[in-house]
Amino acid sequence: MRNFLSDKVVNLKPSGIRKFFDIVTEMEDAISLGVGEPDFDTPWFIRDEGIYSLEKGRTFYTSNSGLKDLRKEISNYIQRTQQINYNPDNEIVVTVGGSEAIDICLRAVINPGDEVVIPQPSYVSYEPCSVLAGAKPVIIKLKNENEFRLKPDELLNAVTDKSKVLILPYPNNPTGAIMEKEDLEKIAKIIKEKDLLVLSDEIYSALTYKGRHVSIASVDGMKERTILINGFSKAYAMTGWRLGYACGPKNLIKQMTKIHQFAIMCAPTTSQYAAVEALKKGDEEVEKMRQSYNQRRRFLMDAFKKMNLDCFEPYGAFYVFPCIKEFNMTSEEFATRLLREEKVAVVPGTAFGDCAEGYLRISYAYSIDNLKEALFRLEKFINRLRVS
């Protein structure tokens, strides 16, 4: 029999997280700080709306680009949070999570040989999705001393005449880094000069703890060269509902919607109805959750300071990204030993890019009590390492 597999797929590196996941599931009573999703349940009024839509028998496909009402509410939301105006008729497409939006955006714009510039450490799907779309990924290694923000010179050094897309993943998973307005304005200049398209993944935008999130699309002259991606998973604790969206220039959204139409048809109907309610009435709930995350973030930073663990102060998402270089081990060794010796699961930084060697991703989507116990064990572990 022939080998039926695609070389492109076979040659994709498997996710580093998967490997670690297998070790963790062997350990029964491990405390995990490895989760990339909220610990809150979806607010009840949103779930209730989903249930109601099922009771009403709204179990059919929606239009390809999503319920009109939902696109209108998305448009309102971006208007009130970012002061950017997107036309619900042709500048918004509702997708199956932010992840689908990333995929169809890249597929809609890449020609063979185009380069996609990806700052790392960052979410695991940008690189494989670029490769699958036929692009050559070009990695920018972000630096701890810059608080993992993207600096103009770093961007300039990565751009060639083949560069087409810059992925801008802020607030960032796994580092928790943000880009403030001044940071964005500096890179926007280069983006315009080099005529790049920005794929701005803003899935954590509601979880920003230093001022409010600013989208690059709100920077002068950037809206027409930005695909803004966001969704419901993180802000509304709706990961399992699989719902996201992309906003951008209508010619791009049109082609993205074409792929979406053929590959997916439409995002889940129940989720769309629930999401309309989330956007209409959810601001207060989101703020409550943000406040909770912020308290935990301060709690972790304070604990790290007390144990003398090097960590820049992150102002976004729900991750901290401490540096463990002082222990002279790889991230994977550290994480594996921490798991085996103290039964605490964290994710090695390298799962998010080779340049994250020497770092760990610690999630604070956990209750304070849970964090306390985990930190107690982490401290025991590093104290042991320090004396030996």
Binding site: S15, I17, F20, F21, V24, T25, A30, S32, G34, V35, G36, E37, D39, Y123, V124, S125, N173, K288, Q291, Q295, R296, R298, F299, D302, A345, V347, A351, I368
Partner: protein, 160 residues
């Protein structure tokens, strides 16, 4: 900081100043000052514990009593409310809009004692016109806390 402080305290009054200071990103002194102020202003009135008595050996019977009263000249409902809330077995008294005036919650050791309170003390008050007593059979949620809620983290242990 006041609103955030109150929302933490409402859920957990046992939290210490040190931890509060960390969570709120302020100094311990500031926390202490603010709490002292809140107590003085009678915004923070008391620190209670929510106990699920059903799980203990102690027998308790609770009832909600709707009370219709005639308000008194010059004092409205306050005077009669006071006469009722002075009884230590009365847990709460609310002035209510709608079909009746006061909602009184009562906690006693037995059904008999509740009956006695209603018939001997409450109904005999001059301005009380009528009462309707509802016994509480089961508490599902109290003070924002779901009783008997099993909390288990059902998320995958590691996700990107």
């Amino acid at each position: 900081m006041r609103d955030e402080l109150l929302s933490i305290l409402e859920k957990n009054s046992r939290i210490d100043f040190k931890e509060l200071a960390v969570l709120l990103g302020v100094s311990e002194e500031q926390v202490l000052q603010e709490i002292t102020k809140l107590e003085k202003e009678n915004i923070v009135c008391a620190y209670h514990t929510l106990i699920n008595w059903e799980k203990t050996d102690i027998e308790k019977v609770s009832a909600l009593i709707e009370v219709k009263v005639t308000p008194q000249r010059g004092q409205g409902f306050d005077r009669i409310a006071e006469r009722i809330y002075k009884y230590p077995e009365v847990r709460s008294v609310y002035l209510i809009s709608g079909g009746y005036d006061l909602l009184v919650s009562l906690e006693e050791k037995s059904l008999k004692e509740i009956a006695a309170f209603v018939s001997d003390k409450l109904s005999t008050m001059e301005s009380v016109l009528s009462t309707a007593t509802h016994f509480i059979l089961k508490k599902y949620k109290d003070h924002g806390t779901i009783i008997n809620e099993a909390t288990k983290d059902e998320r995958e242990v590691i996700t990107p």
